[in-house]
């Protein structure tokens, strides 16, 4: 059904860059979003740990 | 009401004295000169684009002194007083935009046909340029004032205001440009002009509220 040999038709050369650009955009968004989410979550955990350490020090 | 008129006189005087028309028209002239320098002096190249160039020049020149509209009062603390005063902040914003229009937009509207003819544009474009200039620059002042109010707390001023405001001004730019183009081409221009006026009316109705909200935000 998918006739890849014929997609290199007269204008087929435009199809791949378009899909490629779309893929790049989507992947970039996904990677950036996940990196941000994980990074800030780790930061929150780190700060919380620090804070409990300080507070437990103060309590003693 | 007398307070409003006094305030209006003050605003117009301030805008006029701090450069106002000279600044706007000066920049407009300099910009107009750039076109033959860039495109070549042949009338065949310049004449077809002349009215459009005048229109673009008018748009960009009206954006010039926008950032100072509120910053001066913000820095001097006058904006605090205005916000607390008896005059509604919406009216204050409206007056400021009108003052900008009177000192900047109106002179530019009179300069635009001169530029168009100087570049070889058809004389039939002259009157339409003035009309679209007057109505359009009112819209530019109102929407531009909104941008200026939003950008008060930023230190970026002019270019940021222009960047924020220009996409919003797409409709009046299109309507005015179409009216001018069609009058030159002999096509019916009524719809375009009507749409431009409708946009200006809507801006007149809506912008003061956005401006007031933006000012209150900066003062908070």
């Amino acid at each position: 059904m998918i006739d890849l040999a014929h997609t290199a038709g007269r204008y087929g050369a435009y199809v791949w860059p378009a899909y490629g650009a779309s893929a790049v955009g989507l992947v970039a968004l996904i990677v950036d979003t996940l990196t941000r989410a994980r990074g800030w979550r780790r930061e929150v955990d780190r700060l919380r740990a620090e804070l409990t350490l300080i507070e437990s020090d103060n309590a003693d | 009401m007398r307070a409003v008129f006094a305030f209006a006189r003050r605003e117009i005087a301030l805008a006029w004295n701090s450069g106002g028309p000279v600044l706007g028209v000066g920049f407009f002239t300099a910009m107009t000169v750039m076109f033959p320098l860039s495109l070549g002096s042949s009338p065949a190249a310049l004449a077809p684009v002349a009215p459009g160039v005048a229109w673009v020049g008018l748009i960009l020149s009206s954006l010039l002194s926008l950032d100072r509209m509120f910053e001066r009062d913000m820095e001097s603390g006058a904006l605090d007083f205005l916000a607390l005063g008896r005059t509604p902040l919406e009216l204050v914003g409206l007056v400021k935009c009108l003052a900008h229009w009177l000192t900047c937009g109106v002179p530019l509207s009179l300069a635009a046909p001169i530029a168009s003819i100087a570049l070889g544009g058809a004389p039939s474009s002259a009157i339409m340029l003035i009309v679209c200039g007057l109505v359009g620059s009112l819209a530019f002042a109102l929407v531009g004032g909104t941008g200026a109010a939003l950008a008060i707390s930023s230190r970026r001023g002019g270019v940021l205001v222009a960047l924020v405001v220009l996409p919003l001004l797409t409709p009046p730019v299109i309507f005015g440009g179409a009216a001018i183009e069609r009058v030159v081409g002999g096509a019916p221009w009524g719809a375009a002009l009507a749409l431009l006026c409708a946009y200006a009316a809507a801006a007149l109705a809506g912008s003061p509220f956005a401006i007031a909200a933006a000012c209150r935000n900066s003062l908070s």
Partner: protein, 239 residues
């Protein structure tokens, strides 16, 4: 349901499973869309390039939806003072900007073989997309240029609402101005102008793009919630 989600804790709990769910749905829909898209016969006029429609139109749909979401979240934040609404607005802006850019780039690739130029000003849709991109850029620039985060948020909210109100006017004005595009070929009164064999992949990709937009928006909002928590904790630690 939206008011239930306004509670940050409930939102975090919700997005924890909703995000991956939307991602999975997106993967399935896009895979199906690609399959149908490449197995459909080439258009008798456009040849193979008609397949670009399957990435261009969904991107444009998401771009518009993202701006509507930006305006809506900004409105809720301004009127109801929900912190989560502002967080959601901040999160959606860059996503919308990228999808608009994707729509522009793919539109360019679609237009070149069709009209012979990389960019055609006579295409109302493309020009509207460009203005939409500028609206996103203006929003991001305004927000970034104000140091005080609360003030920046509020100013950006006002801008987003003003922009959303203006958007139909802008679209109308650009379309009124000129058009080479097929017009609203999908939703015309006489039925869709797009051949039905292309509608299936188009709607599949459309659904997939919407699902991935939802997933991205949820994930980015989560990231933003954590960011604010981190900043609050930092302030507390410094005190």
């Amino acid at each position: 349901m939206l008011t239930r989600l306004a509670n940050p804790l409930r939102f975090m709990a919700f997005s924890r499973w909703a995000g991956p769910l939307f991602s999975a749905a997106a993967a399935v829909l896009i895979a199906a869309g690609l399959w149908f898209g490449f197995s459909a016969p080439p258009d008798y006029q456009q040849g193979e390039t008609v397949r670009i429609m399957f990435v261009h139109v969904p991107a444009a749909w998401v771009a518009l939806t993202a701006y509507a979401a930006l305006g809506g979240a900004s409105f809720v934040s301004l009127v109801f003072r929900h912190a989560l609404a502002d967080i959601a607005a901040r999160a959606v802006a860059p996503i919308g900007a990228i999808f608009t850019l994707m729509a522009l780039v793919t539109g360019s690739f679609w237009g070149r073989p069709m009209w012979g130029a990389w960019w055609v000003w006579g295409d109302a849709r493309l020009v509207s997309m460009l203005v939409l991109f500028l609206l996103f850029v203006g929003y991001l620039a305004l927000r970034a240029s104000i140091e005080d985060e609360t003030k920046a948020a509020r100013a950006a909210e006002i801008l987003a609402i003003v922009g959303l109100i203006n958007l139909p006017v802008i679209k109308f004005s650009v379309e009124w101005w000129n058009t080479l595009h097929q017009g609203e070929s999908l939703l015309r009164k006489g039925g869709p102008l797009v051949a039905s064999v292309y509608l299936t992949p188009l709607f599949l990709m459309g659904g997939g793009y919407m699902a991935i937009f939802a997933a991205l928006w949820l994930a980015r909002t989560r990231a933003e919630v954590w960011r604010r928590r981190a900043l609050t904790l930092r302030d507390r630690g410094a005190a």
